[in-house]
Symmetry: C2
Subunit: 423 residues, 2 copies
């Protein structure tokens, strides 16, 4: 399958390559040409006239819990503890095999509408989510989530071997839910697995102040230091949220070259605080962006997240000039791919994966045009996403989905499952 995009404005996200007008070729799952417009006789399976709109790499959603769509808008405006114990856990306990497959597909469809071409997903039974991704054509990295209640290191090792052989669309990473839901024994066993497989480790980290305070009380050190002391970061990885880092935590993340994934919507809506993004950047720590799950956010909208990354940083630092739009776009694309060591997903460039989005600039929120990058971050909206391509396949275009089953069917099944879980 060969696709040619003509008359495009192109933002490759490569360093020092400014926006330019030209064309892009895709062959199977790869980008084969990015450059000025060409006079060509060759045949393509499809020629897409971009009509001066923007092509750029898809957004990388580096922290989510996709199957949790059943909890969207089910219980909001509640204190965190009450929300978890009276709303989230009771419904989660009723999940049956097959449910996650459907519930994830709703999230994947939502990602497509927002220009997200990769999600790093943490939830139980990752095989179902992986299968849903492969069937949908969506790209997903799955993350293990051992706790003292559910999942074991052994199960994660099995998932590691299965999912990493399943399809080029999916991969699997070891992880644990969080320091406060694990025991030192579990974490030691996990460290051993990471050393055996020579792989990075991911987890929630320092999402709330309480979590940090309790970790220091229990172990005398803050979470990143505690995790590092157990040897879990020997092969890299990183953490989700990172709202309340101590100086020592920053040192660990610098020394181990770890990544932080910021989830500004969820941290705001659950009143957890504002992550110190400016400091992460100043320290040279790689920062990616995640939507977190639909239970807490409730949308999976990367435009909301991007705007909040910079907006909240400005508010936190009391300085309207910090964390500029381009830095945010880099986090949303390049840094996300870098966090997962998916170096061929960083740019819209020759040889990279054909994970491309098209943004409509002919909508009022982009007009008049003064600065495209700032427009995307400060004025952009899901309504500007008019095409999302993953692995060389157009999965979403002008409001229509091209998945393995009709979207209405996915909605219907999702609603049915949700009613059963609530019942």
């Amino acid at each position: 399958m060969r696709i040619r995009f003509i008359n495009a404005l192109i933002l490759t996200m490569e360093e020092n390559r400014p926006l330019f007008n030209g064309e892009v070729h895709v062959e199977d799952n790869l980008i084969t040409y990015v450059g000025p417009s060409l006079e060509l006789d060759e045949t393509f399976d499809r020629i897409i006239n971009v009509e001066g709109n923007l092509l750029m790499p898809g957004f990388k959603n580096i922290h989510s819990h996709s199957p949790m769509t059943f909890l969207r808008s089910y219980a909001d405006d509640l204190p965190l503890f009450e929300w978890l114990h009276n709303a989230v856990f009771p419904l989660e306990n009723k999940i049956q095999p097959g449910d996650q497959y459907v519930l994830s597909k709703i999230a994947f469809a939502e990602y497509l509408t927002s220009g997200i071409t990769l999600c790093f997903d943490m939830y139980y039974s990752p095989l179902e989510t992986a299968k849903a991704a492969v069937d949908s054509g969506f790209r997903a990295a799955l993350c293990g989530t051992v706790t003292k209640y559910k999942e074991s290191v052994e199960e994660m090792k099995a998932a590691y071997h299965t999912i990493n052989k399943m399809s080029p669309l999916v991969s699997y990473h070891l992880g644990f839910h969080a320091e406060y839901t694990a025991t030192p024994e579990i974490l030691k066993e996990l460290a051993k697995a990471a050393h055996e497989l020579k792989v990075p480790i991911w987890s929630h980290i320092s999402e709330t102040k309480r979590e940090v305070d309790e970790c220091i009380e229990k172990y005398g050190v803050s979470p990143a230091v505690y995790i590092d002391n157990l040897g879990l970061y020997k092969y890299g990885g990183g953490g989700f949220h990172g709202v309340h880092f101590t100086d020592a935590d920053f040192e660990v993340y610098k020394k181990r070259k770890l990544s932080i994934v910021t989830n500004p919507s969820a941290n705001t809506k659950l009143a957890s605080g504002i992550a110190p993004i400016k400091r992460y950047l100043d320290e040279g720590i790689n920062v990616g962006i995640g939507t977190d799950g639909p239970a807490s956010n409730n949308a999976l909208d990367f435009f909301r997240e991007m705007w909040l990354v910079t907006g909240l940083a400005k508010l936190r630092e009391n300085d309207a000039s910090v964390v500029d739009a381009y830095a945010v776009l880099k986090m949303a694309t390049v840094n996300g791919a870098t966090a997962l060591n998916m170096l061929n997903a960083r740019y819209l460039s020759e040889g990279s994966l054909a994970d491309i989005i098209m943004l409509d600039l002919n909508q009022p929120n982009m007009q008049p045009i003064n600065n495209i990058e700032k427009n995307i971050v400060y004025a952009g909206s899901k309504s500007n996403v008019i095409m999302t391509m993953i692995n060389g396949k157009v999965l979403y275009e002008n409001g229509e989905f091209f998945l393995d089953e009709p979207i209405e069917e996915i909605y219907r099944k999702g609603q049915e499952i949700t009613e059963r879980l609530k019942g």
Copy 2:
């Protein structure tokens, strides 16, 4: 013109009237029926099958500067002072007659995509903006903005008489830009005009801490007290922003039954702070929502604003349960209309103005459906707005605009003007 909406899910926003399935009739500019589905023989000019999607009153954007679209994404990531003096003012000084007419139309189109059916707009030369609104079919309340540099109370009185007679789509209110850009003499003259005309007064108020500190330094009292002492609030009105209110300011707003209009995006992006929304509600003060202008925001997206109103309140109060979704929806609709004393624009009810929006529930961000109101505020997006009707006319439907000139023409002229202003 008679229009019938059938198979609708209806959110009227009236107190104690829960969501229901039914139909809505519109005759000319008014809503003539809201109730259960009917068997009818009557003819209508158009029957719109809502297909189970949602009809609700349009959003009221109670503070904006619509003509400032030329500054969208022109200068961001700058400290406030530098932004105003090096970017905003030099370009504003080059505006020529006719420019605002076009530039406002871009904003009106953007409002339509976001389900906004009314804006309360503060900018110089309100006649041009008013004419743009009338020609577009958009509903706008214009607000005077006298400062020591531009506009006079006399000019405002003239605009008051002209615009209030112009069309049922537009109205005019007296206002001043802010305490710090006025002199006591101007404000005394304005108070006299308000007493003569028996009208409310509006202004920016307590947007930054610096502004409040300097007011106290100059006059010994905080802005709301100062303004009230001059007699400006005798006939009501209110203020935009209200981020840094003193206890005495709250007292003035309660006593005078004034409204606060919160602008969370702009306050975040310009690092001004988080408004005390919970306290306003606790004190019984009417709170509306505004996007502020495209120069500071940069989008005019009510879904962003609604989410931020509750999100930032949760962050500020360190409590995930405050300012719930329904309270936000009320601010976005009923309270906005109440602020301007437009009581027939509050609800989707018989006899009210036909300012109605249709939200698509068959998009992944609304699925599965657990709670529609929470979905709108927490998961909703401009992409869900599939129709915007103002004064009984469909101005936006499925991504298309129905204005007095083609949208491409408005973009072209807007870009031309912007290039000239930057040149």
